[in-house]
């Protein structure tokens, strides 16, 4: 995957995620730490043997939400760069579905930012996975994103 220099990187991909390229992308001479999260496909779910997973996304919104996470980690933590890649389509056992790399001058910020990024992604980014088993398939249990509360007189949108 081609990576632009000197920026964060947020992508949805349909091919295997190039983890080494993402690490190289975030790592600069100012950094003393790079923390990564590699989310990979497990061979079982609730005791049933998984054959493979199929991921789908509301792509435009998912990418927008991932960009928001990027902006939030810069606000909250003293980090240098962040890269987030999520893969879509069919994934086999052991393949990486999501990869996050965060660089920072000192390690605590990179650890904290990486943890925040994956936790927020799993709660707010519209991506869904269907789990395929030998005897059927189910949409994985997920988290309901926080949404604005109803108001009787909702502010008209612009």
């Amino acid at each position: 995957m081609a990576v632009p220099p000197n920026t964060d990187l947020f992508v949805l991909v349909r091919e295997p995620i190039d983890m080494a390229a993402l690490v190289r992308h975030v790592r600069t001479a100012e950094d003393g730490a790079v923390v990564t999260f590699d989310g990979c496909v497990r061979n079982q779910s609730h005791g049933r043997s998984t054959l493979y997973l199929d991921y789908e996304a509301y792509e435009s919104m998912a990418l927008a939400k991932i960009h928001e996470i990027g902006a939030q980690v810069h606000e909250k933590f003293s980090i240098d760069r962040v890269a987030i890649a999520h893969r879509l389509g069919r994934l086999e056992i052991g393949e990486t579905s999501v990869f996050i790399a965060v660089s920072s001058p000192h390690r605590p910020a990179a650890f904290d930012a990486c943890r925040f990024a994956i936790d927020t992604l799993k709660r707010t980014v519209p991506i869904w996975k269907k789990e395929y088993f030998a005897d059927g398939a189910v949409w994985a249990d997920g988290e309901l994103p926080p949404a604005p509360a109803d108001t009787p007189a909702a502010k008209p949108a612009s």
Binding site: G39, Y55, E56, A57, Y58, S60, M61, A62, A64, H86, S97, V98, I118, L121, K122, R123, T124, V125, P126, I127, W128, K129, K130, W139, A140, D141, G142, E143, L144, P145, P146, A147, P148, A149, D150, T151, P152, A154, P156, A157
Partner: protein, 104 residues
């Protein structure tokens, strides 16, 4: 045959909507299990100007009772932002009903 009256009606008038409100057209998207229930991933729908997202969902719920049963475990979005069910809709809006997310 087109009756002359139609020429005096506001643009976007839709005879299926029994009000004088101008109608709008919105795009509705379905994902995951909702796409399987509805049988398609997107659709254009005509509504009265300012109709809330809730009203749009109710139409689909009437057509697909299984969808209506998921109401409590869905969130709505308007133009790629999470939105309250009471959010009024305008022409060209893109609406989606989102099941619990399970990325990562």
């Amino acid at each position: 045959m087109r009756v002359p009256l139609a020429a005096t009606l506001p643009e976007g008038y839709n005879s299926l909507v029994p009000t004088a409100c101008p109608t709008i057209r919105v795009k509705v998207l379905f994902f995951g299990r909702l796409k399987e229930i509805v049988g398609r991933s997107e659709e254009s729908v005509d509504l009265a100007e300012g109709a809330p997202i809730e009203e749009l969902f109710a139409r689909y719920g009437a057509r697909h009772p299984e969808l209506a049963r998921f109401r409590a475990s869905l969130v709505a979005s308007r133009n790629q932002e999470f939105a309250a069910w009471s959010t009024p809709l305008h022409s060209g809006d893109e609406v989606a009903f989102l099941p619990p997310v399970s990325g990562g």
